[in-house]
């Protein structure tokens, strides 16, 4: 059913039940996100796509649009909330962009630029986390994991459908884990898919890194905003 909503005061015609973040992108309004992947089920873990819907703050990847919805993306209060969420991610792990293999192709970094983050308002924690080198083709740089759960939900064993990545423990003890046996059965394509799906530099394909020079990396060529607005799969 065709319905009408407003985003930042602009009237938009759309279909009922569409996801708000997609509707916004299709109409030229960029909403940053770290866990949502267009065409895949929503995870709602990162909350970076928070907007005001009829005055309430909601993660726009979790909201099916309904008639008469009044959405505010540019509202300074909610824009600052999104920025704060990105800043939390930077202060919670060790995000050393100058030395990271994923720099220039990293969604967290690209979203940081989009929300105009300069420094984190939260104290940098410098947590001590161990790396996991056990599996043959993948290593986990846990310093960088933001617990988006993309890999947990979308990367599964081809035969059994079992999860390859899991999050163990809870709270500050939470960490991303990899099933070594299932990981070693992954095809090279699936390894690349997992590494590219990771919005940070946590899942790293062994033997790869720094392949493109500065200025020729993914988000140097075309920004995350442009890619999202053009409906490209990021």
């Amino acid at each position: 059913m065709s319905i009408s909503i407003t985003i930042d005061g602009k009237e938009i015609e759309t279909e009922e039940g569409e996801t708000l973040i997609d509707v916004a992108a299709d109409n030229g309004v960029y909403i940053p996100s770290l866990c949502y992947m267009r065409g895949k089920p929503c995870l709602g873990t990162c909350r970076v796509c928070s907007v005001k819907v009829n005055g309430n703050v909601m993660a726009s990847c979790t909201v099916p649009v309904a008639d008469g919805m009044e959405v505010s993306v540019a509202d300074p209060e909610v824009a600052d909330m999104r920025k704060a969420l990105v800043e939390i991610n930077f202060s919670e792990g060790n995000h050393n962009c100058p030395s990271c293999e994923k720099s220039g192709r990293c969604e967290l970094q690209a979203v940081g630029y989009e929300v105009e983050m300069m420094a984190s308002r939260f104290p940098y924690r410098f947590p001590v986390r161990t790396r996991d080198h056990a599996s043959e083709h993948i290593f986990l740089e846990r310093d960088r994991c933001i617990f988006c759960q993309r890999c947990v939900e979308f990367i599964r064993d081809k035969e059994t459908g079992q999860k390859i990545f899991t999050i163990s423990e809870r709270g500050t003890g939470a960490q991303i884990d990899i099933d070594e046996e299932l990981a070693n059965k992954m095809t090279p394509e699936q390894v690349t898919e997992a590494a590219e799906m990771c919005p940070v530099g946590c899942i790293i394909e062994k033997g790869l890194g720094y392949n493109d020079p500065m200025g020729k990396r993914k988000f140097d060529i075309k920004s995350l905003r442009q890619r999202t607005l053009e409906g490209e799969e990021v």
Binding site: P98, S99, Q109, Y113, A119, P123, Y124, M214
Partner: protein
């Protein structure tokens, strides 16, 4: 330690200086005063400052750089409008210098990854200080073997802090320019906006963390 000066010896900096032309001096003092320093960093952000190329000339019409490694002036001579600080906080001398800048500058700008969040030196934050010193001075494969392993400790050597801190966790910082190093043109944009009193921003297209 300084070499003792013999009575009949004249050092270069003891030579009589020609007094500065009063008009030039007055013109310099009328400009916006900028003080610069590199703390625990690699000085790359200062080099990046030079990378603004011909824009440096435009900038220097408006500002006068007093304390900086470019001018070799070791103290902030007059109250300055802008303090340009590179590098993080890794020892007591860094804290002292940073506080001196805060007291003598109206605006402080944190420049580069080290100043903004600790940068490469902050990679030691996940280790204990004891381990870092042991690795560098006791177990180091390049330590001079003829000498007993020693961790340098002397009142003349600034004491190292347990962790490396970003500047804004020590004093109030007004503006940040991320990047490792930030592009020269980004530094120019920020300084140019500031000296012309324009609202300050680094748009996504030119903002870099690496």
């Amino acid at each position: 330690m300084n070499k003792p000066v013999k009575e009949d010896e004249t050092l270069a900096h003891h030579l009589p200086t020609t007094p500065m032309d009063p008009d030039v001096m007055a013109a310099r003092n009328a400009k916006i005063q900028v003080a610069m320093i590199g703390l625990c960093g690699c000085w790359g952000c200062n080099l990046s400052f030079l990378d603004m190329d011909e824009n440096l000339l435009k900038l220097l019409e408006k500002v006068n750089i007093n304390r900086s490694s470019f001018t070799d002036i070791k103290e902030i001579p007059v109250r300055s409008a802008i303090g340009f600080i590179e590098g993080g906080i890794a020892n007591e001398e860094n804290i002292e210098t940073l506080e001196h800048f805060r007291e003598n500058c109206d605006i402080l700008i944190s420049v580069g990854a080290c100043a903004v969040w600790g940068g490469v030196p902050a990679m030691r934050n996940v280790e204990t200080l004891e381990d870092c010193l042991r690795e560098a001075y006791i177990d180091s494969p390049t330590r001079p073997l003829q000498q007993p392993p020693t961790i340098p400790y002397h009142p003349d050597i600034p004491r190292i802090t347990k962790k490396v801190y970003p500047l804004h966790e020590v004093v109030k910082i007004d503006y940040f320019i991320p990047g490792c190093p930030p592009d020269g043109q980004v530094i120019y944009k920020v300084l140019d906006d500031l000296v012309h009193g324009r609202p300050f921003s680094i748009p996504a297209e030119i903002n870099r963390y690496d």
